[in-house]
Structures are given as C-alpha cells and as structure tokens.
Assembly symmetry: C2
Homo-oligomer: 320 residues x 2
C-alpha cells in the first residue's frame, strides 16, 4: 500500500498531481459509499446489516485510492468518460480491499492494525472478515457487469476477463501464495529464498497485476485500441515494479516514524524482496530505471500523459 508521504514531497512539474489524486479519491469514496448502500439491487434478496457494515469498514474512509487514480487518468488520456472510469476504479479498489482483509487474517499475516485502526477481523470477527472479503470480491465483478460501467457489453466483458486474470490464480492470489511459500509457511517456517527472477514473478503477481489492470482497465473503458492498451500495460508494469521496489526500500531504509509502520520487518521475516537481492543502491538505480521505463511507455501520448509521468515519479519518490 501507499505510504504516508506528504503530497508536498512531489516535485514541481507534477501536472497537478496532488489535486488530481485527491479528486479521484473523493469521487471514489462517494461511489464506493453508494455501491455499498443499504438497499438491495435487482437480484438481491436482502443486504444483511453486519456483513454490509464490515464491507464498508474494509473499504471506506481510507487510502489514497491510487488504483482508481490510475484507472481514471489512463481513461482520461483517451478522452474516456470519467464516471465510467470511476466504476472501473471502484471494482479494482474492492478487489484491493478484499485482499487486505483476507491477508490480515490470523491464518495469513495475522495483522491487528492497518492504517492505524483495527483490521476488519479485529473490529468484527474472523468469520465476518472472511465473508466480507468474499462479498467485496464478488461485488467487484458485479460493478464491472453493470451498464453504468459501459453501454457496450463487449467492453464490460473485456474488463471482467482482465480483472479476473489479474486477481486470481495467475495473478494477485497466486502471488500471495508464492510469497507465503517463500516465507517458509508450508515448510515448517524454513524460509525458501527466491532468486531474482522468482522474486520478480511473485511481485508482478502479488502487487503488480492489479496496478497493471488499473491502467489497462482505464484504457479499455475509454475505448483505446490494442496498441494503446499495450502501451498502458507497459506503463502499468513499470509502475507496479517501481511501487514494489519503493515499498521494499521504505522497509529497508525508511525511518519508522516517517513510514508510519514498523520498518525492517521484511528482513526479520526473510521476505523475498529485490532490495535483499540487489542491495539498497542497486534497488535505487533500478527504481530510477523503472520510472524512465514508465515515462517512455507513455511518451507517444505527449503532454497529455504528463499526469501519468508525475504518478510514476510519485511512486518512486515515496521511497525516501
């Protein structure tokens, strides 16, 4: 997740980045609140109160909404309708939030706190947290299926397939599995260190796939052609990698007070990270290369893509 880097840290030439990030976050919050309303929609029998409350707890009131931001700004690059792009952003945010709820469970990472407040299973209970996660994941596909997301069913089905591939066995869930395995969870707590290639695969699935989907999904909903979608895929891939390297650097060298969580935790857990493999200086160089790669991917779109370039720099800059 994004650290607590202040917006003021973003350099000049930010293409209005902080304001635009905040605007998407505000619009996303309103949309998620509406999608998690108390009234059942067609085909639903009832919305049980405790379950809805847990889903709202897990997804409202927090986060920079960086994934929705990527979806909205990727769509804007092609003149896409903002309301539709926000629906794509809401879907990806529901997937992101469900994954945090399940990852925090005692059987997984066993975390009691997230963003300074009790995790969902601490605020409710384990059973409710499992079900809330399941329902959030299901809701993501519900959102993509609605005509409000796009009038053309073919576009919506493209989004459903892309999100499913990014989120499941061959994407985010698979990446979480590889990460737990590397920690030695299935081998009597004996860490199974990953080499560089295996670490990159794990990270590209665990955190990269959803960030990449955000960019490509924004392009899809805006009607971008295949070449443009491929460019956004390259951009999203580079941003996803940069995101992970920056996160690892924060953990390795960040000051706990600045980062807002305990640092040095990865080393203690023998987690697979590129910083462990490349060293801090190597990781910093890799980060600069990744930002350049992200910028190059959107170079063909000219100044319209300035905001996406600023976003790539923002991701990298939160590492120091």
């Amino acid at each position: 997740m994004l650290g607590n880097t202040k917006h003021a840290d973003v350099a000049a030439g930010d293409a209005g980045f902080p304001e635009r990030l905040d605007a998407v976050a505000a619009d996303t919050e309103s949309l998620l609140d509406r999608l998690l309303g108390a009234a059942p929609v067609a085909g639903e029998r009832a919305r049980p109160g405790r379950l809805l409350e847990a889903m709202r707890y897990a997804s409202l009131g927090g986060g920079k909404r960086f994934r929705p931001f990527l979806a909205v700004e990727a769509a804007a690059l092609f003149g896409g309708d903002r309301a539709r792009a926000l629906m794509v952003g809401a879907a990806v945010e529901f997937v992101h939030c469900y994954s945090l709820v399940h990852d925090d469970l005692p059987a997984m990472d066993n975390d009691d706190l997230r963003r300074g407040r009790p995790t969902t299973h601490k605020a409710f209970d384990d059973a409710t947290a499992i079900l809330a996660g399941d329902a959030l994941l299901t809701l993501a596909f519900d959102v993509l299926g609605r005509p409000e997301t796009h009038p053309d069913a073919a576009v919506r089905i493209d989004l459903v397939l892309a999100l499913a591939r990014a989120s499941g066995l061959g994407g985010m869930v698979g990446g979480q599995m590889l990460d737990l395995a590397a920690e030695g969870r299935f081998n009597g707590n004996v860490p199974q260190p990953l080499d560089r290639a295996a670490t990159e695969t794990m990270e590209s699935m665990k955190t990269g796939a959803l960030l990449r989907f955000s960019c490509v999904g924004g392009a899809i909903v805006a009607g971008a052609d295949k070449d443009a979608q491929a460019a956004l895929d390259r951009y999203g891939t580079a941003v996803g990698k940069a995101f992970q390297v920056a996160d690892d650097l924060l953990d390795a060298v960040g000051d706990a007070a600045t980062v807002g969580k305990a640092t040095g935790k990865d080393a203690g857990l023998h987690k697979a990270t590129l910083v462990r493999i490349m060293g801090v200086d190597g990781a910093r160089r890799a980060l600069a290369d990744l930002v350049a790669e992200a910028e190059a991917a959107v170079a063909p779109f000219g100044p319209k893509a300035d905001i996406l370039r600023a976003a790539a720099r923002f991701v990298a800059e939160r590492s120091h």
Copy 2:
C-alpha cells in the same frame, strides 16, 4: 449439499434422470479438470502449484454436480448448446466449491471432514484454503467471461451479473452471514431464533440463490426470452426451497448411516430450519407443495420438461 441417496431410489417415469445426472457429472468433471490445468492462460503470469493443487482438491472428484445438471437441462429445454451450458455449470460449481472451502474453515463451521475426506484446510492449511477459495470464486467469473461460454458478449455479461447477485452480499454470502448470526455467533453464542419469514429469507439466500442461478443461467445461455427465464426462476426457487427442506428433514429424521454424516446436528446447534418451525409432518407437506410448484413452473414446456420434473422429485425423495 446432496446426500448419498442412490439413484435406484428415483421412481419410474424419471425421464432418464439417473443417466442424465451422471452424464452431466462426468462432463463437468472433465471440464473442471481442463479449466484447472497447469498452463497459464492469457493474462496470467504463472499458476503456483500448491494453490492449483488445493483448488483441484476442493473441486474435483466429488459431488453429484446437481447445479451443473440444472444449468445443462435448463439450457436443453431451449435447445441450447451443451458445451456452453457446461461452462455455466462449471462457473456455478466453482462458486459452490469455494463456499464449502470457506464455510469449513475453523473460523466458520470448523469441519474436518467433507464427503468422507479431509476438508481443504485440513488437507493443506488454513491460509492455502482461504486463497484457494478466493481463486475459485475469481475463476468462476473468468469462465463466464470467456467467448467459449457464448459468442455474444451481452449474454456473457448477463450471466456475470446474475451470478454476482446470486453469490454475494445479497445472495449466498449474505445468507451464510444470516445463518451464523442466527446461531448466536455474534452474540456470545446465544442463539437468535429466526421466525419463519426470516428463515425462508436466509435459506433462499444461502442455498436457494445458487440453485436458482443454475436454472436461470441455463436459460440465459440458451437464449431463452424473459418470460421463459422467469419460469425457470420460479422453478429454481421452488427446487431450492425443496432442497433445503429435504436437507433439514434428513437431518431431523434421517439415519446417520444412510445420510452419511452426523444427524440431529442442527438441533444441537439451534440452527434455523423450517423443520424446527413447521415440525416434521408440516415440512413433509411443504415439500410436496414445493415439488408441485416446481412442476407447475415448467408445465408450459410440456414433455420436454420431464427431466426437470424428475429432478424436482429427486430432490424431495432424498429426504426419506
């Protein structure tokens, strides 16, 4: 889930029911096996072995595949393509299987055995079971999104939306939440008995919604019109209710050896069931009414619907 009633119990005039149930089960098994292959599909980076193994463990080699049967036979009623209907059946079966994996977890029903073998979290571990369930749910939407399910994207998106509504907050997951609440799980283990209306709502969500989707989904994929879809919805609703009443009766009066699991468990758990509210005789009468209701719903389709009528009787007959 379906009990272990032998096919031989089905009365004459069964429209070839046992053979057709077995045929769908065999075709479904092959399809699930193929969908859970080792090779990544487009958009997937890798399929981690342990996760795939757990998904296969949770979904292959068991069950009558009654939901896929309903989807295939509902589609057949409208001359729908069998291969496409099997894709719908596979999607609903993945949802059913994921729900069993999550329901069996220690934090939920804490069951060690299912169909006479260790539950997924016992055969693997809790973290793997959580992730396998998540990935199976995601795969269900992936399957519905594929062109193989139907060449028309509008049909596929109808299926996605219907499955999402049947499975999530306002459907199956919501029903499980209501059931846990009735058991007193969120009130210091003090049961909160449901009245008849609340029990019917809970059951219509927890088990009814997915059975209803199976029928309606089969109609949708076969291109049935809205009136015909509504008829299959009424049929599926009645079958879903009959399914639950028969299950409750089996628990209340069944012999453990015949049923294949401990009986009388619901009473011990103070579970909300219609048998508790209506008594055994009242429940038997209700069951007969539900079968008649299911038969009436498909009456307009004439002898072509004999197989669906036989299915309704099969559901009821497994109660004794």
